[in-house]
């Protein structure tokens, strides 16, 4: 590798790191993932979850509203429950415009690996489009698909597959105190 291409790679890495840092403050998981494991993942972000009784807290979003919706096998259609959850998420996001979100799409383990990446993307996109329809700006949202790589619970049973077919809205940014 030439010095120039090395320099380019370093620059590319820096640029990626810059893009990937959430705008301000923290990433609040709950998606069963460990964030973006990679070379640009050195920093630990922090932020306050707040009191779940405070309707504008991240804790409220995660615990009371629910940060995830579920899907049936091979489907990316929202259920009645899923739409209710997303309506409440949209209200919270409207009231807390300082937060950005990452929507993670996931599949259960009963499919092939790459197809499940596509399926997870389709699920994440369904959630994003629904939130856009509720008035949330597309600029605040990103999507990622983990396919079947990050199950919430790994057991060879229907009850696990049912909770693994999900899209999780991960809140980042916002207040730091």
């Amino acid at each position: 590798m030439t010095l120039t291409s090395k320099t380019l790679l370093v620059l590319a890495a820096l640029a990626l790191a810059a893009c990937n840092n959430p705008r301000t403050g923290g990433t609040f998981g709950g998606g069963g993932t460990d964030g973006f494991g990679g070379f640009n993942d050195g920093g630990i972000q922090s932020g306050m979850l707040g009191d779940p009784n405070d309707p504008n807290s991240v804790a409220h979003f995660q615990q009371r509203i629910g940060d995830r919706v579920f899907f049936t096998t091979d489907s990316s259609s929202l259920s009645e429950d899923g739409r209710a959850t997303l309506n409440a998420q949209a209200r919270w996001l409207s009231a807390n415009p300082q937060f950005a979100i990452l929507i993670e799409g996931h599949a259960d383990e009963r499919g092939t690996r790459e197809y499940n990446v596509s399926l997870g993307e389709r699920r994440a996109n369904t959630v994003m489009q629904y939130l856009i329809a509720q008035g949330i700006s597309a600029g605040r949202m990103r999507t990622v698909s983990y396919g079947k790589e990050r199950p919430v619970e790994a057991c060879p049973e229907q009850r696990c597959w049912d909770i693994n077919r999900r899209a999780v809205t991960v809140v980042s940014g916002g207040r730091t105190s």
């Binding site: 973006f36 990679g38 070379f39 640009n40 990316s76 092939t112 690996r113 790459e114 197809y115 369904t126």
Partner: protein, 438 residues
């Protein structure tokens, strides 16, 4: 040279084979659909031609024996049963002693070591006819590569007896897995086809999945989450240098595959709930969109002549297998059985497509002809997926996961016989079989 001798021996064998009665058939295994009786063979410890050679004399023979046995086509007559002792590579063979213990193929070898260089010789004998089969052969190289020399010997023997190309001197890139299932650590890794010489290629910090090896064996492509989102990564296997390629802004890119000339990739890009196939020229970085339907098109595979791409799509409602021209255009569906069909992989001979099928809660590895006919399921389990072809198109390796268990690599031959677990140091998935090494 090698090829010439091989061809010659095959021709010589093929001719009398049609006239002679079964009893007098020369040493020849036809690999067919039917159950075959494994051919009994013997491989005594190689003869050390100097004292330094003795440390490899037995080991070389053991690797050859293991390779042949693992095909399911051969059965070793154990050392304890041997009557004759081979103490000189060039001395005459006492065929009667080998016939007496029902050996049909006898392999003798010799090894000489000086410093870190070694030379390995072998001969193959047809015990029933009392004749040498093909000429003796010699390989020379570094002692570090002693297993590879045993694999070369095995490939030559396998080829002479079956008339098929070998696959022992080849490597497999795969995903080595560790840690809790909800947050797996996955590393790109490479090993010999028999599970030896495992080497980690990535450090596990970024999730990596589904690698493929370049046709020349010099590079690998895979999907990496190092930026936080799926991206296609290209690695030079000799230097370990890697780079991300084929960026499509706003899209997740994954499922990369090399074209047969190694100069371009076909890959998937997902955005807006839709996954399409693109072709990436690795030299210029130019991208060409190959599919444009409002559905999923992924897991592509080139035909060996580079003219077509097979892939899976759910455009009909469920995942099925399609074939289209390599430059895009109309796709023809070839899978019509019950269930979902995924991960089509074109065989190196061009005649078959291997796939994953799921139906009624079970997963299968199967093969079909390129027009979708003669579908044959080779395996069945809780979760089998992701077939990859041995360089000779006779064996398929894949990922098997038992209910609640860790994933492991398995192989099966295309007749559905000889299902075997491929040893790996820990949990493993997504094998990608590389070419026969030069």
């Amino acid at each position: 040279m090698t090829r010439y001798f091989l061809l010659l021996s095959i021709l010589l064998l093929a001719m009398p084979g049609t006239i002679l009665p079964a009893q007098a058939q020369p040493l020849r295994l036809q690999i067919t659909e039917g159950v075959i009786e494994p051919m009994p063979f013997a491989v005594p410890a190689f003869v050390p031609e100097n004292s330094a050679g003795s440390q490899f004399a037995d080991a070389l023979a053991r690797v050859v024996a293991a390779n042949l046995t693992n095909t399911g086509l051969f059965r070793e007559v154990p050392r304890e049963a041997h009557i004759a002792r081979v103490t000189s590579f060039d001395a005459g063979v006492s065929f009667a002693d080998w016939r007496a213990i029902n050996v049909q193929a006898l392999i003798t070898g010799a090894v000489e070591v000086s410093g870190n260089r070694m030379s390995v010789k072998f001969r193959l004998f047809d015990v029933l006819s009392g004749q040498q089969m093909g000429q003796g052969m010699q390989f020379a190289g570094s002692t570090d590569n002693w297993r590879r020399m045993a694999h070369k010997v095995s490939d030559a023997i396998y080829s002479r007896i079956t008339g098929e190309g070998g696959y022992f001197d080849s490597r497999v890139v795969f995903i080595s897995e560790s840690g809790p299932r909800g947050n797996r650590t996955k590393r790109l890794a490479i090993m010999d086809q028999d599970g030896e010489n495992v080497q980690m290629l990535t450090d596990g910090r970024a999730l990596v999945i589904a690698p493929r090896v370049a046709p020349a064996g010099d590079r690998a492509v895979y999907t990496s989450y190092e930026t936080g989102s799926p991206r296609v990564a290209l690695m030079n296997l000799a230097t370990g240098q890697r780079q991300l390629v084929g960026d499509i802004p706003g899209a997740m890119t994954f499922s990369p595959r090399f074209a047969p000339d190694g100069r371009s990739l076909v890959l998937s890009a997902a955005r807006g709930g839709n996954t399409d196939l693109y072709r990436l020229d690795l030299g210029s970085g130019q991208m060409l969109q190959l599919t444009a339907s409002s559905s999923i098109a992924t897991s592509p595979s080139f035909s060996p002549d580079g003219r077509f791409i097979t892939f899976e799509s759910d455009r009909s409602g469920t995942s099925q297998i399609y074939i289209m021209p390599a430059s895009g255009g109309e796709a023809r569906r070839i899978s019509f059985g019950q269930g979902r069909y995924s991960t089509p992989v074109w065989s190196p001979r061009g005649d078959l497509i291997a796939f994953t099928k799921s139906h009624a809660g079970r997963f299968h590895i199967g093969v079909m002809r390129t027009d979708g006919s003669e579908e044959r399921l080779l395996t069945a389990s809780f979760l089998d997926e992701g077939p990859t072809w041995a360089p000779n198109g006779r064996v398929i390796m894949f990922t098997r996961e038992t209910a609640g268990g860790d994933p492991a690599l398995f192989s099966v031959d295309i007749t559905g016989r000889n299902l075997r677990r491929v040893p790996t140091p820990g949990a493993a998935s997504d094998p990608a079989w590389g070419p026969l090494q030069p």
